[in-house]
């Protein structure tokens, strides 16, 4: 093969070609409608719902999606429903705040002190496993009829996830952070405020989400 017969290799052209390929590839991968997947899921659910409603053909057993939507729209304009909704929201709000007020300090104490964990863990674990329904009659006897029992229930189901995830959050903090803080002359209060609280926040947030979810489920 003489030198003239060799295929000419042009580095610039190759680079250009590769760059264009990369751009094309990226364009292909780019998600044009980020909400599309969500809409597809919703569409599939509504479709199955509609098919089921057509199968039963009975508005009491299985109303169609459309009639449900109309019902929701009417309810949202009804003053009485809105009034009831505000009551529910108030109960959830109070219950949630109470469960934070009980759960967070309990979690911090149990996470921080091994002694407190040993004393309180059996109590928490036995009370936690009593079925919700068993509390209903007792709570009505204790708190009467009205907001009382409901707030009690919401608080009750919120306290445990918050306590347990706070304990886990405190335990997950690397011992190096405590060592570092103590090496820098930090006081007990500062270790709590600057290390324990921010360090356990990811765990606490999980607990708060669980507590809110549980709260919604136990509104009566």
């Amino acid at each position: 093969m003489t030198p003239e017969m060799r295929p000419v290799f042009n580095a610039d052209a190759t680079r250009e070609k590769i760059r264009n390929e990369i751009i094309a590839e990226n364009a292909k991968r780019k998600v044009r409608f980020p909400r599309m997947y969500w809409l597809v899921t919703l569409g599939v659910i509504i479709l199955i719902w509609q098919l089921a409603a057509m199968r039963f053909h009975n508005p009491i057993l299985m109303p169609t999606p459309w009639s449900t939507a109309v019902g929701l729209f009417n309810a949202a304009r009804n003053a009485e429903v809105l009034h009831d909704l505000s009551f529910t929201m108030k109960r959830i709000g109070i219950g949630f705040l109470l469960s934070c007020a009980i759960g967070l300090p309990l979690g911090f104490v149990m996470g921080y002190s091994r002694m407190a964990l040993r004393f309180l863990d059996p109590i928490i674990n036995s009370v936690r496993l009593i079925p919700m329904m068993a509390w209903v009659p007792l709570s009505i006897v204790w708190f009467g009829i009205g907001d009382g029992p409901s707030v009690f229930m919401i608080t009750f189901v919120g306290v445990f996830p918050i306590t347990l995830s706070t304990i886990a959050g405190v335990h997950e903090i690397s011992p190096d952070f405590y060592h570092a803080a103590r090496c820098m002359g930090a006081s007990r209060w500062s270790i709590f405020r600057d290390v324990v609280v921010p360090g356990s926040l990811p765990g606490i947030m999980t607990g708060i989400r669980l507590a809110l979810g549980n709260g919604w489920m136990s509104v009566i």
Binding site: H179, C183, M184
Partner: protein
């Protein structure tokens, strides 16, 4: 003048299933004020345990640690610690991380600003104070770890394999920078390392520890001027002396690193276009 004195330290780890694992056996040594001492030894020789005892994170089974004649019982601001994993608080900015020890030790507010700027200049990190630790590279984070530890002018600095987690080029660069930092701000330092070159480069004195029942087997002075020069004859002699010592305490198969020329990759044909394509 003696700053640190470690007196007949023994450390035994015990649990229900074993009857005591002896990690440190009757260790004694002193460190003079302003001296940089390295604890060099193979993994598992108890050098980190020894450093944590000096810091007060753990308590010795017997013996005691004295700093300026006072017995150590818990961690304190007179002994700053630099962690292998940096130990910076990820929820604070760089500025708050460095100011944290100053605030805890009630340094006057007016001094904060100046000290912060001085320290950032020392570590060559001006303008980074509002970032969070995860936004910096490992090398930068470790420099922050060092200046945070120095911020309140501690009596001594304890460093646990401070450059263990960075690659070799960064390691050499940071060693230079740390050398600069300690030349400007003379501090008593005890550093744990398993790297012979690092020990010779950084320290005034190297204590070599043996693998079993942690004991100090030699105490080597490094009488070299700073900044240090790796190609210096004495430097290289010290490195080979320490390497030989380490090989004795931790004998590994001698031929493990022998070169095998047959296994070298074939030469790359540079006029092959596909080679260029992949390297673009």
């Amino acid at each position: 003048m003696q700053r640190l004195f470690v007196e007949n330290i023994c450390k035994v780890y015990r649990n229900k299933k074993n009857d005591g694992h002896l990690v440190l056996k009757d260790i004694s040594f002193g460190v003079k004020t302003g001296e940089f001492v390295s604890l060099l030894g193979p993994s598992g020789c108890g050098k980190t345990t020894l450093l944590r005892l000096i810091a007060g994170f753990i308590q010795p089974t017997s013996g005691r640690v004295l700093v300026d004649g006072c017995q150590v019982s818990k961690p304190g601001p007179d002994r700053s610690f630099v962690f292998q994993t940096y130990g910076l608080f990820p929820w604070m900015t760089i500025k708050d991380n460095i100011l944290y020890p100053m605030r805890q030790q009630k340094m006057p507010e007016v001094e904060h600003r100046k000290r912060l700027q001085d320290l950032l200049a020392l570590a060559n990190l001006e303008g980074k104070e509002d970032l969070y630790p995860h936004q910096l590279s490992g090398g930068m984070q470790q420099r922050i770890g060092v200046i945070r530890a120095l911020s309140c002018r501690p009596k001594m600095l304890l460093m646990d394999e401070p450059l263990g987690a960075v690659d070799m080029q960064m390691r050499n660069k940071l060693q230079r920078e740390m050398e600069q930092i300690f030349m400007n701000d003379i501090t008593t330092v005890v550093m744990v390392t398993h790297d012979v070159d690092e020990a010779v480069f950084m320290s005034d004195r190297v204590l070599v520890m043996s693998e079993h029942a942690g004991q100090i087997v030699s105490d080597i002075q490094i009488p070299l001027q700073r900044p240090r020069n790796r190609s210096d004859k004495t430097y290289r002699e010290k490195v080979s002396q320490l390497t030989a010592l380490l090989q004795n305490v931790y004998p590994w198969p001698k031929d493990e690193f022998a070169k095998n020329d047959d296994n070298l990759p074939p030469e790359i044909e540079t006029n092959n276009p596909s080679y260029y394509c992949h390297s673009v």
